[in-house]
């Protein structure tokens, strides 16, 4: 692990990320009714999403000037069991038209027990539905404890 002993800046926290939306109402339904995360409209042009973590994602209306995203910039949603990934995938396919999802990719699994799939939503943003063993909210602990692999 690298943590500079004297970094130039000392952050209080990594507090948020941001993403772009075409518009709010349909996306809000996707967040609340499909993803199952909290969603709060706090501004004419923006809403925040959050779920149990210490940080949030600010979702800003960009309209036609929205920049399409790729899976390399996915947001990560953790699930408690591998079965929930199967359920989420089955539901993503079943309700693809209802929530106007653009793509639902197949489930993948690696040798460390990580099981996941990717979904691209109506605003081109990608969501990774992920199950991996570990304590809730502290999935990266083991990686940091192991240290650099190369």
């Amino acid at each position: 692990m690298t943590h500079a002993s004297q970094p130039l800046n000392e952050p209080v926290s990594l507090s948020h990320g941001t993403l772009e939306l075409f518009d709010h109402p349909e996306t809000m339904r996707f967040y609340r009714d499909f993803l199952g995360i909290g969603c709060r409209r706090h501004h004419k042009a923006a809403m925040n999403i959050f779920h149990r973590g210490p940080a949030f994602v600010a979702c800003v209306k960009a309209g036609k000037s929205l920049h399409a995203q790729g899976p390399e910039n996915a947001w990560i949603l953790h699930f408690a069991t591998s079965e929930e990934i199967d359920h989420a995938h089955e539901s993503a396919v079943r309700y693809r038209d209802l929530f106007e999802s653009r793509q639902v990719l197949p489930i993948a699994q690696d040798s460390n027990g990580l099981r996941n799939f990717l979904l691209q939503d109506l605003d081109t943003n990608w969501w990774e539905f992920r199950y991996e063993p570990g304590e809730i909210g502290r999935w990266a602990d083991a990686a940091f404890a192991r240290g650099d692999v190369c």
Partner: protein, 188 residues
Amino acid sequence: MPNEALKPPAAPVDRAHSPFHNENAVNKPVMLSGGKMLAIDLEKSRRFYAEFCGLETVRHKPNGLLLRDGRHRLGGPYWYIEVIQRDTIARPQHMLNHWGIDLESDAAVDRCCALARHHKDEYGIKYVQDPHVQHGDYAFYMTDRDDNWWEFQTHREHRSVRPGEGDIIPTYCPTVFPAGEPRRLRAK
């Protein structure tokens, strides 16, 4: 000025008492826990994340790096960013796809901005905006060597964006599912 973010992470949101969750949603995730981004040279970018931003980093796989802040030391859940190395970045990010880092004070934001300009070449920083006040925060944006955007900010007033305060604009219109749906995962 006290900064709310200095406090330990809040207890996980209790879904049953959050007006912003749908208890009957199709999925029930444990946590929204972060996101991903790309870098062309992980070791060069790592210096920026660790030495400039003050984040903790680890090479968890040959082409990947994890970032987190220091809040894990408080024992609660934390966010992480997974950085993946690629030869090229087909979709450079834009200002509205930034990562936000909270600093302690206006002075820390000013100092951070001056340091970004001073160390621009050393860390491959491409663009540094002047600090300014927006929606109750004092902040500036910058881009790193991989065109990822970062906002360094401090909160001058209680955030209007904190969860738990109600929709300012009532937008939510519940999804109309087919009869008898949505299907749920049966409890074991």
